[in-house]
Subunit: 195 residues, 2 copies
């Protein structure tokens, strides 16, 4: 965490510090705790300071979401790189997707909202588009059924996104050993996709 050096008027990089504070709050306290005042406090600055760097809370959230898309994309790519068949890469990507959703739950919920919930922000939109491209291109290697490549992509996306949400709300609890213990690899095997 970047805090302002004591007894120093200017911070140096308060914008960055506020984004990092926001990320930390998301990880430790969740989406509802993400407020301008909390970020300012965690960055060691007065609560009015963020005004000089962001257009209100939506602006800060948008900047944080930009980082979120980056982490999300990185985890998907990690999952893809371990595999060497088209179908394997899609499954690997899904594993990265689920890792992001479970290990960065609040961030996952921050980035998966309607674009209308964010102010227009080129950086964020570019980061979102980049992550989306990973999904699109990885699914493009698969054979396409009715509706073509975009339907294939949405089929994979729906399956993994839905599974992530079911985990989040505890309808599915992998490793629990009870009735909610369902493994994604088995779920994925229901998807009729081949190279």
């Amino acid at each position: 965490m970047i805090r302002k050096p004591a007894n120093q008027q200017h911070h140096g990089n308060l914008r960055e510090a506020l984004i990092l504070a926001g990320l930390q709050i998301l990880e430790t306290e969740g989406l509802k705790a993400l407020t301008l005042r909390r970020c300012a406090k965690l960055a060691g600055v007065s609560h009015a300071a963020p005004t000089h760097h962001f257009e209100g809370l939506p602006g800060l959230k948008s900047a944080i979401a930009t980082r979120g898309y980056g982490i999300f994309e990185r985890l998907m790519i990690e999952g893809i790189e371990a595999e060497d068949t088209p179908r394997g890469r899609v499954l690997g990507m899904c594993r990265g997707y689920l890792r992001f959703a479970t290990e960065h739950r609040a961030l996952f919920n921050l980035i998966f909202v309607s674009p209308r919930d964010f102010p227009p922000d080129e950086e964020r939109m570019a980061a979102a588009a980049s992550a989306r491209r990973v999904l699109t291109q990885t699914c493009a290697e698969l054979r396409h059924g009715a509706g073509g490549s975009s339907t294939t992509e949405v089929a994979v996306w729906s399956l993994v996104h839905g599974f992530a949400k079911l985990i989040e709300i505890e309808r599915v609890v992998p490793g629990s050993g009870d009735a909610r213990d369902v493994d994604f690899d088995n779920v994925f095997s229901f998807l009729d996709v081949r190279a």
Copy 2:
């Protein structure tokens, strides 16, 4: 909407009136607008009145969710009844699921949260279990792959739930005519399930 008759001390059925007010607020203003004070106002009663009927906002939300599960179950059943093959019934159920998600968006988001977000409430849990049973039993007619019936169920559930969320956040916009225009029936055709 049930309002208190003017100049009358006791309401008659304020509990029911508050639930109906809550449902109306969800439909017209969304989940964030659902507060005790707003419900009280819409029911035509002072903001302190709900105290006598619910254990705070969580209690009221739980009661509203109970109704939500009922509507949800009814729409799924409607979708099922129109079909006469196991696979058709599952697809019909999904159509009902999606209808609920799109026509009752806030209610959909209210009921699909972690059980931990609600106080224990037998009525709500019974309503949730009943709706879940529709899903389970409809999917049970399908052939099961790796992981057995619960995996089959979660595969169907993930697909439809994910699709619903992608619509909600506008990654998918059926009927838009643009790149986001994907049809659920085509997505469903990727699911390798037979009678």
